[in-house]
């Protein structure tokens, strides 16, 4: 009975999600005639796929040694570093781009150092810059996902490996590789799809129209040509690419089955020798790569932080409210879908992946067209933002919860059912305590994303309802770059504080 109810509500949720994502396409007049791509669109498609693939592979490839080093080493500041890993991902795009430019740009720290040493300049503009920025955003996220995979291998298995005299290579082959096969395709998929819809980063760092993505072609269709059906078609193409990538990743994923441990403490063995040095280098480089642009953001914003205009604080309050509501909505939905997916069904994962490929411009425009006959769009600015932020953040929350929900199901579903535990009792005594670590991480990420995401509020907002990201944009539009930098720092600080608070809560309540 309980399972039926869970399945039904998850199915209803997935259907609502599909409707939310696809109805806007219909509203824009999606038609299936003339589905062929023009030469410019084909070039955009090629560039989009290429940069997304490179970004995903490099992010994931770099994440593995960093995650392994973090999994098997204990050092001062490790906890802080792991928390900071969430930071790049939650930076508003323009803030992150300016931070990256301060480090890697023409006048940036790296080039100043290279120049001082008489070395040639590094140019960030081009495919390398796009990939660099995408790796900056997403590699830390991949590290967190892979690290979670490492932590999910029961300590008993590592002990068994040690007792069998496994070398590090044996451990890799028998324990870590199966885990990676289970975790990496999903992580790569998420990053690939995020980068599919990249627009501002690709254009700004790509150096110009060579770096046209499908999302930019959507902008052109909506803004320059006012050709709604073309925008809808391109948005559908993004969904199709996302679905194809999802199917491919599913094929590549081999579920690991380590079984349950008794939750004893202890992680992977920490081999000494040169491996210690490699781990130290991996951690140091990743730390610098993440910390330097963040430091630039802090330095830019710090001077003006003291005298921010009052509107900034009001907008901050509004953003916090939006983030709180989005988080509650998103986490409930993600948990429901993750629990349904744990029962071996495929559709919850697809439903929870598609929002990644949503073009927020198409989503916003379509929703506007759908709602406008019935209500004043500006009166719905905040509720629409809450729903859209929750939907757009759902894939991340789902990815974090799904593997843990799966092992929870395979390990304890039989026992819970044989004891006749009701859904509420299971939620209270099994699901929440066993999942509190991923729940805290996911809630932190969702809250921070909802703070920073401009999403569709710009399409709906009246003069009174500006959120903090919108206000940063307005400040920049009014030449106030320094105030904007300070407001952006406040945004980053608040986002990070939310992320940190939820993440800590999850770790503190993690049931051993």
């Amino acid at each position: 009975m309980a399972d039926r109810a869970l399945s039904l509500s998850a199915a209803g949720l997935a259907a609502a999600l599909f409707a939310l994502l696809l109805a806007p396409l219909v509203a824009l007049g999606l038609s299936f005639d003339g589905l062929t791509l023009g030469a410019a669109e084909a070039a955009a498609l090629r560039f989009t796929l290429w940069q997304a693939m490179l970004s995903a592979l490099i992010s994931v490839g770099l994440a593995v040694p960093v995650a392994r080093a973090l999994a098997r080493r204990r050092f001062r500041g490790r906890g802080v570093l792991i928390s900071t890993l969430g930071a790049p991902f939650i930076l508003p795009v323009i803030v992150a781009v300016l931070g990256l430019l301060a480090v890697f740009g023409r006048a940036g720290w790296v080039n100043s150092s290279l120049g001082a040493l008489g070395l040639p300049e590094f140019t960030i503009y081009g495919l390398q810059g796009v990939v660099l920025a995408h790796v900056f955003f997403n590699m830390p996220l991949a590290v967190r996902m892979v690290l979670q995979g490492w932590q999910a291998i029961p300590a008993e298995r590592f002990r068994l490996a040690q007792s069998l005299g496994f070398s590090p290579a044996d451990t890799l082959r028998h324990l870590e590789w199966p885990m990676l096969r289970a975790v990496l395709p999903g992580a790569a998929l998420v990053i690939f799809v995020i980068c599919l819809t990249s627009f501002a980063v690709a254009l700004t760092l790509g150096g110009g129209p060579r770096a046209t993505t499908i999302e930019l072609a959507i902008y052109q269709a909506l803004r320059f040509d006012f050709d709604l059906p073309t925008a809808a078609r391109l948005a559908l193409l993004q969904f199709a690419l996302c679905a194809a990538a999802y199917l491919l990743a599913t094929r590549l994923t081999l579920p690991s089955s380590f079984g349950a441990g008794q939750g004893r403490a202890g992680g992977p063995p920490a081999p000494g020798g040169w491996r210690r040095g490699v781990d130290a280098v991996a951690i140091a480089l990743a730390g610098l790569f993440i910390a330097l642009p963040l430091l630039a953001v802090v330095l830019a914003g710090l001077p003006g932080l003291g005298d921010l205009p009052v509107q900034v604080w009001q907008a901050a309050g509004r953003s916090l409210a939006v983030a709180g509501a989005s988080t509650a909505l998103c986490i409930s939905a993600a948990l429901l879908l993750a629990l349904a997916a744990a029962r071996g069904r495929g559709w919850p994962a697809l439903a929870a992946t598609l929002p990644l490929a949503a073009s927020s411009l198409v989503l916003g425009t379509g929703l506007f067209l759908l709602l406008q006959p019935y209500v004043r769009p500006s009166s719905l600015a905040l509720p629409v933002t809450v729903v859209i932020n929750a939907a757009l953040a759902l894939p991340f929350a789902f990815r974090i919860l799904a593997p843990e929900a799966r092992s929870l199901y395979s390990d304890y579903n039989r026992l819970s059912r044989s004891l006749g535990m009701t859904p509420w009792a299971r939620a209270r005594w099994v699901v929440l305590p066993r999942l509190s670590r991923p729940l805290g991480f996911a809630a932190g990420l969702v809250a921070a994303l909802s703070m920073g995401d401009l999403g569709v509020i710009a399409l709906f907002a009246g003069e009174a309802e500006a959120t903090l990201p919108l206000l940063v944009q307005r400040l920049m539009g009014a030449y106030r770059m320094e105030t904007a930098a300070s407001a952006a720092l406040l945004l980053v600080a608040l986002s990070f504080a939310l992320f940190w608070a939820f993440d800590q809560w999850g770790r503190r309540h993690a049931a051993i």
């Binding site: 300016l98 254009l203 006012f226 425009t365 406008q372 399409l459 009246g462 944009q473 400040l475 030449y479």
Partner: protein
Amino acid sequence: MNRLFPAAALALLTTAAQAQTPVLNVLTYDSFTSEWGPGPAIETAFEAVCACDLVFSAVGDGAELLARVQLEGAKSEASVVLGLDTNLTAQAAATGLFAPHGQTGGNDLPVPFDDPIFLPYDWGYFAFVYDNTKLATPPTSFEALAASDLKIVIQDPRSSTPGLGLLLWVKAAYGDRAPEIWAALADNILTVTPGWSEAYGMFTAGEADMVLSYTTSPAYHLIAEEDAGKSAAAFDEGHYMQVEVAGKLAAAPQPELADQFLAFMATDAFQSVIPTTNWMYPAHMPEAGLPEGFAQMITPAKALLLSADEAQAARKNALDEWLTALSR
């Protein structure tokens, strides 16, 4: 979330209060209505004379504004649309959603401008802005810029109005030679941003030598920041103008108030706010003249402006040329 309930209550109250105070809804772009734009001062001034409630709704920028007008169609709550520029007005007029403004009285633009549907409220020249403490002798033409090693940041014409303005600037100045100019400029273009603020932000962060903006941009730094370090480079070919206009919607819920607002646009109360909030030239010179500081702005030798129809006819082709030249 408790903010939502007051918001909903407020919406109800506004509806109830409508019986006494009519509401004039003006659709505009974001930076016009923001706390630092002309919107708040103009709202106060107009409400003092109209016995109405002036409400601005804002979208991202001029291009988005036109898209929004087309999306809303005849169902729009707005009576006035403010913030299109002449590169977009032909397309806007073709929608049939706008009504003639019926205003007389001309304007103070440097070129003759008379449009039956759209009334100008401010204007400016596009220009490349640079840091005069780092660059002593700026280029004086596109060709000189192309021959230099200077790096510029421009905006994408597909997502931003200044980007589109630059496209038409080169077209107006060079005609069929435009592709050649773009090809020569390709190695000077550091990058292309989605909108004006990203580009300007990159410039002030020291990333680029010059940025596409307006001849009046240095006035902001001079007046608001007391920083004389920014200048606009004067180009011999002349500078393309951006003329920002407003128009009345044919289906305006408040046609009389819309007319009153369009007439108000020409008055000092509106025009004197423009220079130091929108950082553009007012379309009607205020009695007190321009604020100090504007005198130091360069005056282009030649003002370039394609008519709305010419701009409409040229833009698709100009975009293709631009894409081809820069995609190589």
